[in-house]
């Protein structure tokens, strides 16, 4: 119980306390703020680890008229995502905050601005923790919305300083798209709540859509899937992601990729598949088709994309395509693969954004067309992190990315009964070709950035903290890749109950 309180209140206190501190002590040194926020993030991680081990349950009276209770709980599916959130919170607050003073790039940053930056990071983490803990649809939705505002601020205020207009356009895109997505999702949630008379997710899963007629179920599933697809993002609702990633600060990108996108897929697993199974089964082929188009589309875009950060964003779209494909297959194997791929993508893209964010800072831009010193020659530590990240990202076995991709292709080849088998086999073939594209664009980036004879302009190699962060992520990626049961055994029992509808 104490762990749960720590996990929830540490980021909240940090998010509210740091700006207050900066207001009270206007000359608070940047170091204090940085270390303070890191402390709050570590406290959150500690709380999350304790929560996952102890598995406490909280259920408070909240809005009895609507049947809403403040339910927080952990199970095998949310536990890995909570750990991921806690970990990535630490990573995001630990990496150097390469932000500039308002309107004056390069000038010293005021402490209030820095405090706001860290508050935004912690606020995002708070929302995500609530979301993953939620046992009630309304609590989930509130967590989901809590994430938006700090993230929007991060993109709009602390992003790329050079083209202000681009950053503003990106943050506007983010806000529009995610707000539209949440609205659609909210309508869907209200429909389910009205029909079942409760917002308890466990009850929803037990009813398994029995309160809906067939067309009703289809409409509700459609609304929920559409709303969540903005967040995941699923092709063709993905266009905001590359823009947002290219302007977000690197800590923002880390949280966006490792935590925010996970909310979308987690929503599909929690709010759609067990709640309106029949409706989801009907739209699953369409969803799977979009997922595979997304895999190939994003893989192709990566072959010609000139901005390294946007490229990683595109690769995220491809990886989440595998996750969604696994979910669309409707089998246990598919869902296992999807949940694995979800976490793996979080860690791997987090690692890549740590590297690429630092490179963008060192290079003064992420354009691949500008000649840079070869990373292997000039900054071997970053070079290693980059080549390792891309190896993991292309699904090399022995690293975390492999199991999700292989499992998704297998699941698409053998979809659940009732799904169009031939069509899904086509999807499996498309996904396998998309995996080959991943090798092609990885080879392209490594050839241009990692190898090469140039040693100038010299760039600084990774600092001690960055090395520590990279090392921790590398260990996790290898650990999950070599011993996948760590994660698979945690999710397996929940997956089978979610799919069979049994409590």
């Amino acid at each position: 119980m104490i762990w749960l309180l720590l996990a929830v209140f540490a980021p909240l206190l940090g998010a509210l306390g740091l700006p207050l501190l900066a207001r009270l002590v206007p000359k608070a040194p940047a170091r204090v703020l940085g270390v303070g926020s890191l402390g709050f993030a570590i406290a959150t991680l500690t709380g999350v680890v304790g929560t996952v081990l102890e598995r406490p349950k909280v259920s408070l009276e909240w809005i009895p008229a609507l049947g809403v209770r403040f339910d927080l709980a952990v199970d095998g599916i949310s536990a890995p995502l909570l750990l991921l959130t806690g970990l990535m919170g630490v990573v995001a607050t630990a990496v150097p905050a390469h932000i500039d003073a308002d309107n004056a790039p390069g000038a010293a940053v005021e402490s209030s601005r820095l405090a706001l930056y860290y508050a935004c990071l912690l606020g995002t983490i708070f929302g995500a923790v609530i979301c993953f803990l939620a046992g009630d649809a309304l609590v989930f939705f509130i967590g989901f919305e809590c994430v938006l505002l700090p993230m929007w601020l991060l993109i709009a205020q602390f992003g790329d300083p050079a083209p202000q207009a681009l950053a503003r356009a990106a943050s506007l895109r983010f806000l529009m798209v995610t707000a539209l997505g949440s609205t659609l999702m909210l309508i869907g949630l209200l429909a389910v709540a009205a029909s079942t008379g409760t917002t308890n997710l466990q009850v929803w899963a037990q009813l398994a859509g029995s309160t809906f007629s067939r067309p009703q179920g289809l409409v509700v599933a459609g609304l929920l899937v559409l709303g969540l697809s903005f967040k995941v993002p699923v092709w063709p609702l993905h266009t905001w992601l590359p823009w947002v990633h290219s302007s977000a600060p690197s800590a923002g990108s880390i949280l966006l990729a490792a935590v925010l996108l996970k909310l979308g897929t987690y929503g599909l697993v929690r709010l759609v598949i067990p709640v309106v199974p029949a409706g989801f089964a009907t739209i699953a082929p369409v969803l799977g088709g979009f997922a595979v188009v997304g895999i190939i589309w994003a893989g192709l875009a990566c072959l010609v994309e000139r901005d390294l950060k946007r490229l990683i964003a595109w690769s995220s779209i491809a990886h989440l395509g595998f996750v969604v494909l696994g979910l669309a297959s409707g089998t246990e194997a598919g869902m296992q693969a999807a949940l694995f791929g979800n976490v793996a993508h979080g860690v791997i893209s987090g690692l890549l954004f740590v590297v690429v964010g630092a490179l963008k800072h060192e290079w003064g831009g992420a354009d691949l067309g500008t000649p840079h010193a070869s990373l292997r020659e000039a900054a071997p530590h970053w070079g290693f992190a980059l080549i390792f990240g891309f190896a993991a990202s292309m699904g090399l076995p022995g690293l975390a990315g492999f199991w999700g991709e292989f499992g998704a292709i297998y699941a698409a080849w053998t979809p659940a009964p009732g799904r169009p088998g031939g069509f899904f086999v086509l999807l499996a073939v498309g996904a396998a070709v998309g995996a080959a594209l991943a090798a092609a664009y990885s080879a392209r980036v490594l050839r241009e950035v990692w190898g090469g004879e140039r040693t100038k302009p010299a760039i600084a190699d990774a600092g001690r903290i960055e090395l520590l962060v990279v090392a921790a992520l590398v260990v996790i990626v290898v650990g999950l890749g070599v011993y996948p049961s760590l994660l698979l055994d945690s999710t397996a029992p929940v997956v089978s109950t979610l799919l069979t509808g049994a409590p």
């Binding site: 194997a333 296992q336 050839r447």
Partner: protein, 668 residues
């Protein structure tokens, strides 16, 4: 070995002198199974080497060689313990919870795969020892040694795997390590290109491999090879054919079969020890291992059998022809690898139903020994002469007597001259194909018999050509790349001083005794390896088909003589100089395969990618942009039309709301 069966005069059984093999039950039991050590040790040593500081080259070498020795001991131990029938099974990190799909992740080692493991471990050790000398001045030797160690582990995993997923793991890790090794000199643009090409081509083919494994596993509901074999041998049909053709596509990528073959000659950009490893014992040979495990399934699908037989036969002949025309000794060896690996795969399609894949694996072993010998000897020669282009290496074995016999042995074994290991394995393939022709579905076997038969004189021809150049008399002026008479230095103006300086440089590049010992070991094995079929590990039909034998050797001799005749009068004694310039240029470029890749795959893909990005920005994103802009515009309009100061009506409205709240509260 297997007891001979027939007794006609054309088909003489070799007298049974099977080498006695004592029992090794007295070896102590170690915790875990031996296959854990065989695969685990090189992984652990790769990590240890990698964890050393960047400049610790000496310690890296110690660990690399120590790891190699321990792996070799483990492989030998495994070979001594493995039963003659059945296999040793070991647990790994499985089983995995993947719904209905069973993923047990077991290792399984049988007799013939244990000896293959031993050969892989041995060649890896020799390569590590050799690389220490060859890369003495390379600041990235540490990374190289660690990658070689990991590469070895991945190959050993494929060899000892009892599960499709474990095979896939080893398969892909090998591909990645080969990428790193080929691109080892990453400052060189050509090395970067070759590495990227190898990765992309093999990964593209691997899409087929992954789908093949998925299809096989989907039918059998398990990924264990045993379960897959059991399920699919009961239910052959279209599904099996599809799965096997997909597997063959994957194998064609890694084993450099037409049309995926062109990455392999380019892979020569890697340092020579890496080439020796990639070309001899690992990577290209992995496809043979996998299909050998799946042999019964391959045989029950005639379409798959024909696909593999045609691809392998075309590749072996084409590559042998191209090898003949190469102007670079290392590229000649690369094309000979393409040709020889295709022979192994072709052999699989010709094996009579009911027999094991041992002849193909015997050729794998034999090729591994003589090809690594050749590569290391050529690497050694290249250090002495300054390059592997034919004009540099001309007269090489006359000038440097120490490389004479390793190169000679290697070329003789490659050509298939009795009694060396290359002769034995190739002859047994021909015998096996000959008996395969007799069975009902003998078409592929006939094709293979013809292709391997025709390949033999071609192989002899290019080996003869290489030897004639290497062994050219010394009275012709020597061209040398970096050293030689053209050393211009103010300090050494007098002729004898120049000669002395050259001597010093040559002494510096003289091979280390351990590297030389490695080469010698391989040379000895090239001779002794001819005894392998008489051991208990290979179950092969020991027949001598006299007409077949005589005609093969006759053809080889004729081809060799023709090459000798053609080389007369050419200054470099290069028989290929007789070819028209256009033809040899085309051969050097691999018949334009790279251009074809560019035109047929790369450029259309990039074009498609550009149109995708255009569509994304101008069509899909325009809705999002439009939504953002219109929302803003609406907001602006709202702000413009509404009064900026609160109107009186607002106060009334707020008052009303307040009243309602109070009323509602009181009511409740």
């Amino acid at each position: 070995m297997k007891a001979p069966t027939s007794g006609s005069w054309t088909d003489i059984a070799v007298p049974d002198f099977s080498i006695p093999w004592p029992s090794f039950d007295f070896l102590p039991d170690l915790p875990g199974e031996m296959s854990h050590y065989v695969i685990g040790l090189p992984v652990i040593f790769a990590i240890l080497i990698w964890a050393l500081p960047a400049k610790a080259l000496g310690r890296s070498a110690v660990l690399a060689v120590l790891g190699g020795v321990l792996t070799l001991i483990a492989a030998l131990w495994q070979l001594l313990l493995v039963p003659t029938e059945g296999s040793m099974v070991a647990q790994t990190v499985g089983p995995l919870a993947f719904g209905d799909l069973e993923i047990p992740l077991l290792l399984s080692t049988s007799n013939v795969f244990a000896i293959t493991s031993l050969v892989v471990a041995l060649i890896a050790l020799v390569v590590q020892v050799f690389a220490r000398w060859y890369l003495w001045f390379d600041p990235r030797y540490r990374q190289f040694a660690a990658t070689v160690s990991l590469f070895t582990a991945a190959m050993l995993l494929v060899v000892n795997s009892g599960d499709a997923v474990l095979t896939l793991v080893g398969w892909e890790v090998m591909g990645w390590c080969s990428y790193l090794l080929i691109g080892h000199l990453s400052a060189k643009a050509s090395a970067r290109r070759a590495a990227a090409k190898a990765l992309i081509v093999t990964r593209l083919a691997d899409a087929g491999f992954v789908l093949g494994i998925v299809a096989l596993a989907a039918g059998a509901q398990t990924t264990s090879w045993e379960g897959i074999l059991e399920h699919w041998s009961r239910s052959p049909g279209t599904a099996l054919t599809v799965a096997m053709v997909l597997m063959i596509i994957g194998v064609a990528g890694k084993s450099a079969l037409f049309p995926f073959h062109d990455w392999l000659p380019d892979a020569m950009e890697g340092p020579t020890p890496a080439s020796a490893l990639i070309h001899a014992a690992t990577m290209v040979a992995a496809g043979t291992i996998v299909l050998a495990q799946l042999l019964p399934l391959l045989q029950s699908s005639s379409i798959a059998l024909w696909t593999l037989a045609i691809a392998a036969s075309v590749t072996t002949l084409l590559a042998a022809l191209l090898a003949f025309a190469q102007p670079d000794l290392k590229r000649l060896l690369a094309w000979s690898t393409v040709s020889q690996v295709a022979i192994m795969l072709a052999a699989l399609t010709a094996i009579p139903v009911g027999e094991g894949p041992d002849v193909a694996l015997l050729h794998l072993t034999s090729h591994a020994i003589f090809k690594s010998l050749l590569f290391l000897a050529v690497g050694w020669l290249a250090v002495l002469t300054g390059g592997t282009v034919m004009v540099y290496v001309a007269s090489g074995v006359r000038r440097y007597g120490s490389v004479r016999w390793p190169l000679g042995m290697g070329l003789l074994a490659l050509a298939g001259v009795p009694p060396l290991v290359g002769f034995v394995s190739k002859e047994l393939i021909l015998v096996s194909a000959e008996s395969g022709v007799a069975q009902t579905n003998g078409g592929p076997a006939l094709l293979v018999l013809a292709a391997v038969g025709a390949g033999a004189p071609l192989t002899a021809a290019y080996c003869m050509r290489a030897w004639l150049i290497l062994d050219r008399a010394l009275d012709v002026p020597v061209v040398s790349a970096t050293r030689g008479q053209e050393v211009i230095d103010d300090f050494f103006t007098e002729p004898e001083v120049v000669a002395e300086a050259i001597g010093v440089e040559e002494a510096e590049s003289a091979i280390s005794s351990s590297a030389r010992a490695g080469v010698t070991t391989l040379g000895v094995l090239t001779v002794l390896g001819g005894l392998l079929p008489f051991t208990t590990w290979f179950e092969v039909d020991l027949h001598l088909n006299i007409p077949l034998l005589v005609s093969t050797i006759g053809l080889m001799a004729a081809a060799a003589l023709a090459v000798v005749a053609a080389s007369r009068g050419v200054r470099t004694r290069d028989a290929a100089a007789r070819l028209p310039a256009r033809l040899s240029l085309m051969a050097e470029r691999g018949l334009g395969a790279d251009t074809a890749y560019q035109a047929l795959v790369t450029r259309p893909t990039l074009k498609l990618a550009r149109s995708v990005v255009w569509l994304d920005q101008h069509i899909l994103d325009s809705y999002v942009r439009g939504a953002g802009a219109s929302a803003r515009w609406l907001g602006q309009v709202g702000q413009d039309v509404s009064p900026t100061r609160p109107a009186k009506s607002l106060a009334l409205l707020l008052g009303g709301v307040g009243l309602l709240v109070v009323l509602g509260w009181w009511w409740a």
